[in-house]
């Protein structure tokens, strides 16, 4: 296993360099730079050009990339062009809130999707199955910002049960349990939106995977041996249908920290997705590159994790 692991790590490093180079080229290919995101009559073009030079934006692309990579190797992610804030600090401050939002949504999505997927696979073509599948289609088709706005309208404006946006009540200075409760309240709606869209997608995969497993010969054997339906599901079918689910989990890991832009913007959640989009509009290359890099690392880690889990879950899989 170890040689395989090392091989993957080395491969990963090469991929990271390639990906970051591509991302850099593409970012700089977009028209305009950080000094062209505004027109201020008090700041003449000569000042803007001087500022560009100070940021190194007048150098050829490959020189700028080399400089970025060189700094990265020494552990320096650079400074935001827009605010001067150290990128590591900026991106770091978004990790927590993103992980809380995406992590909570992920766990609930997984639980909900597996439960419903198994339940509908066990009762195929029943009213329950049609209802859930119908709801799933709706969840996939309705854009998340619409779902978000609708939930805000109903639960925050009309009923007043939940807050509209933000991480917590900024004016109040809660601490301890009160702060936890306040933050939990603010988490409900954004997570609900993510779960509704995410579970909708996942439940159909689970349903088809479990359904497929239930049609296998070993299930028929178990049933004919007198094993109860429940045990058949749990003990035999579910385990074997988990393989596709593991793939999806592997893919979900990068999403955990990449965030969900629409949800973050609508709920003004200080997440990674919103930061990435804002930095792209502001042509803030250091920030965009750092987030890109983080995403790439997570994709590689996620796929490695998924492959490891396969080896655990499926005795047929061997790595050398």
């Amino acid at each position: 296993m170890l040689p395989y692991f090392l091989h993957r790590v080395l491969q990963g490093a090469v991929i990271l360099v390639l990906v970051s180079f591509l991302a850099f080229i593409i970012s700089l290919a977009a028209p305009g730079n950080a000094l062209q995101t505004f027109i201020d009559p008090n700041i003449p073009p000569s000042e803007l050009r001087a500022a560009e030079a100070r940021l190194g934006l007048d150098r050829p692309v490959h020189v700028q990339y080399g400089s970025w990579l060189g700094e990265l190797v020494t552990g320096n992610l650079g400074y935001s062009f827009r605010t001067g804030r150290p990128v590591a600090e900026l991106v770091g401050s978004r990790l927590g809130p993103t992980f809380v939002l995406m992590g909570t949504a992920f766990v609930i999505t997984l639980a909900l999707a597996i439960w419903l997927g198994v339940a509908t696979a066990a009762r195929p073509y029943s009213l329950f199955d049609y209802t859930v599948t119908g709801a799933a289609f709706a969840g996939i088709s309705v854009p998340s910002f619409f779902t978000a706005m609708a939930l805000i309208y109903v639960f925050a404006l009309r009923l007043g049960w939940l807050p509209t946006s933000g991480l917590e009540d900024y004016a109040a200075s809660y601490s301890g349990w009160a702060q936890l409760a306040d933050r939990a309240q603010h988490l409900v709606l954004p997570v609900a939106v993510l779960v509704l869209t995410g579970a909708a997608e996942l439940v159909r995969h689970v349903r088809s995977a479990v359904g497929e497993a239930l049609r296998q010969d070993y299930v028929r054997t178990a049933r004919s041996k007198g094993v109860s339906d429940a045990r058949v599901l749990r003990h035999h079918a579910l385990r074997n249908s988990l393989l596709p689910v593991i793939t999806l989990v592997g893919v979900a890991l990068p999403r955990l920290l990449a965030g969900a832009v629409v949800v973050e913007v609508v709920f003004t959640w200080p997440g990674m997705g919103r930061l990435l989009v804002e930095s792209v509009f502001a042509r803030d290359y250091p920030v965009a590159m750092a987030i890109n890099l983080l995403g790439a690392v997570l994709v590689l880690l996620g796929s490695l994790l998924a492959d490891m889990l396969y080896a655990v879950a499926d005795p047929r899989v061997r790595y050398s």
């Binding site: 977009a30 028209p31 305009g32 730079n33 062209q36 995101t37 505004f38 027109i39 201020d40 009559p41 008090n42 700041i43 003449p44 073009p45 000569s46 000042e47 803007l48 050009r49 001087a50 500022a51 100070r54 934006l57 007048d58 400074y79 827009r82 605010t83 001067g84 804030r85 150290p86 900026l90 401050s93 978004r94 706005m149 805000i152 309208y153 925050a156 404006l157 007043g160 807050p163 509209t164 946006s165 933000g166 991480l167 009540d169 900024y170 004016a171 913007v265 609508v266 709920f267 003004t268 200080p270 997440g271 919103r274 930061l275 509009f281 042509r283």
Partner: protein, 563 residues
């Protein structure tokens, strides 16, 4: 007996003298106290107000490339020598008075007594000198040197041939004078736009690192509020400055949240915010809410269609006039702005003294517009016109970021189709539009504009402090790469008037000069003015004293109170 009387008299005289001294001292203390701090009438003292703005500030150091979202916060934490009134004249802020010299080239300011920074250190004229000198520092990265380049010695200091800026003189702890190269009419607005930095804090940081340094995120000034925290992507918190010269603000804390306009509207409607800007679509919900009040405020900015005068089609005045007359601007105001705004007929905002009230209005007349085009040789060939085999087709570049402006594009396209002009709308983000208006060659070197770069575009402009801000837009020598005249205006009369306006100090004479510019630009129609939108704000009944106006959302902020 005699001896006793003398002694008693002597004692009495000493006592009297002591009493007089004590009373005088008390009076002096009272007077000094009154000078250092005025008291403020508050409807209620204490509490926290939460307001919102639509974008996060980038830099909190006021000398680094400030945008409105930055200055909204900087206004709370910093103070200036003078500040604008509602009519955009200037009133004393940290300076209690100022004098203009005989030759009109020197302004001398006297600071109030007893001013302190948020950390307790006294504010002195050296801090003022430090702030302005920093803007001329060769290593200064903030981009605002051009604003103060008119000060004597500033260019030399910037070039490194002088040790200091000769035109900035600290006369004593409370007095500072500025001398300009020539009498410069907009100098007072320039001074009114610079927030003063404490030398002992900002001077300790290498100026080349001002943007990266912590002070750009943890500002310290002498304004009504003390900076507390900045949570990126979420909010900024400030607290009342106890020793503010105008009296401690009524509020204890003020929280400024940033977020998408619709989300902030929802937060306002649900009671989570005390005040927020309101998008036009949200005006009805705010008005129908009994706990909220809608404030409609005039602004000094307007939207226009810009033209590329290098394009032979647009170089023809008849075509520009036809476009202006074919666009239904009233429909935009009624439909898109829902009445919260007005059309305008020149390039200055209607509510400013530079706007010529007697300017000829641009009439909406589709037939007259068609006639103009016909006369100019553009004959109808199917749906669109053509001349000498060339179709009358123009690209319209529309920057995103202003939803109302984006929605005007299809209206303009439909309106112009009626007179036979084909408009191709291209929407792009702001930075992309800038690369068309101020283009660069393949190596990235700025170059001059050519016919291919753009045809028509939508943009906003206006007055921040003084009409001299339009100068670079109207000088023929300031076409890119030198300045902002991307349209390519080349009207010697207008240039002369703009240059004269810079040095004319008499306000009435100055107004007349800019108004004439306004009339000429109306005739010229290189800029086709569309409308001036009003700004809408909503505030909750919990918040009193909220009075936004042309200056923005913060006027009267020190008097805001919550119940």
């Amino acid at each position: 007996m005699r001896a006793n009387a003398v002694k008693r008299t002597a004692v009495k005289r000493t006592a009297v003298r002591r009493t007089i001294a004590a009373v005088a001292l008390a009076a002096l203390i009272a007077v000094a106290g009154a000078q250092a701090e005025e008291t403020r009438e508050c409807a209620a003292t204490g509490g926290t107000a939460t307001i919102a703005q639509w974008s996060e500030p980038g830099n909190l150091n006021p000398l680094i490339f400030p945008t409105t979202y930055d200055t909204n916060i900087q206004e709370l934490v910093f103070a200036r020598l003078i500040r604008p009134t509602e009519t955009l004249t200037f009133e004393p802020d940290m300076a209690e008075s100022w004098e203009v010299s005989e030759d009109a080239r020197t302004l001398t300011f006297t600071l109030r007594e007893g001013l302190t920074w948020h950390d307790g250190e006294p504010v002195t004229a050296s801090d003022v000198a430090f702030t302005f000198t920093s803007m001329a520092d060769p290593e200064y990265p903030g981009g605002r040197f051009a604003e103060i380049s008119i000060i004597e010695g500033a260019q030399e200091y910037q070039d490194g041939t002088a040790e200091s800026v000769s035109g900035i003189q600290v006369l004593n702890d409370r007095t500072i004078s500025f001398t300009t190269l020539e009498p410069f009419a907009p100098f007072l607005p320039v001074i009114g736009g610079v927030y003063i930095l404490p030398e002992h804090i900002y001077g300790a940081v290498d100026i080349a690192q001002w943007q990266q340094d912590e002070t750009n995120r943890r500002p310290l000034g002498s304004g009504p509020f003390v900076f507390e925290q900045f949570r990126p992507g979420e909010f900024i918190e400030v607290s009342a400055f106890e020793d503010y010269w105008e009296g401690r603000p009524c509020l204890d804390r003020l929280i400024v949240r940033f977020g998408d306009q619709n989300t902030m509207l929802a937060a306002l409607l649900s009671g989570e915010l005390d005040a927020a800007p309101v998008p036009i679509d949200g005006a009805a919900s705010v008005e129908s809410n009994p706990d909220l009040e809608l404030h409609v405020v005039d602004s000094l900015s307007f939207q226009y269609i810009g033209t590329n005068l290098r394009n032979p089609i647009l170089a023809d005045h008849a075509v520009r006039e036809a476009i202006a007359m074919a666009v239904n601007r009233e429909a935009m105001v009624d439909g898109l702005l829902q009445g919260y705004g007005s059309t305008l007929n020149s390039i200055f905002p209607t509510n400013h003294w530079s706007y010529p009230d007697d300017v000829t209005p641009i009439t909406y007349d589709v037939e007259a517009a068609s006639a103009l085009l016909e006369e100019a040789g553009w004959t109808l060939d199917g749906e669109y016109r053509s001349k000498d085999g060339q179709e009358l087709a123009l690209r319209l570049f529309v920057p995103t970021g202003n939803q109302v402006r984006e929605r005007t594009a299809p209206i303009i396209q439909a309106n112009l189709r009626q007179v036979g002009i084909r408009v191709d709308i291209q929407t792009m983000d702001f930075a992309t539009l800038v690369t068309h208006l101020m283009p660069q060659d393949a190596e990235g070197t700025p170059r001059s504009v050519n016919v291919e770069d753009f045809d028509l575009f939508l943009l906003g402009f206006g007055i921040e402090r003084d009409p001299n801000e339009y100068l670079s837009y109207l000088l023929s020598s300031d076409s890119p790469p030198n300045g902002f005249n991307f349209i390519g205006v080349d009207t010697p009369e207008v240039e002369e008037l703009m240059l004269e306006g810079r040095v004319t100090l008499d306000q009435d004479a100055r107004a007349e000069l800019y108004q004439e510019v306004g009339r000429l630009m109306r005739e010229n129609l290189a800029w086709i003015p569309l409308y001036q939108a009003q700004d809408l704000y909503g505030s909750s009944s919990r918040l009193s004293g909220f009075q936004p106006d042309v200056r923005g959302v913060n006027p009267n902020v020190a008097n805001w109170s919550v119940e």
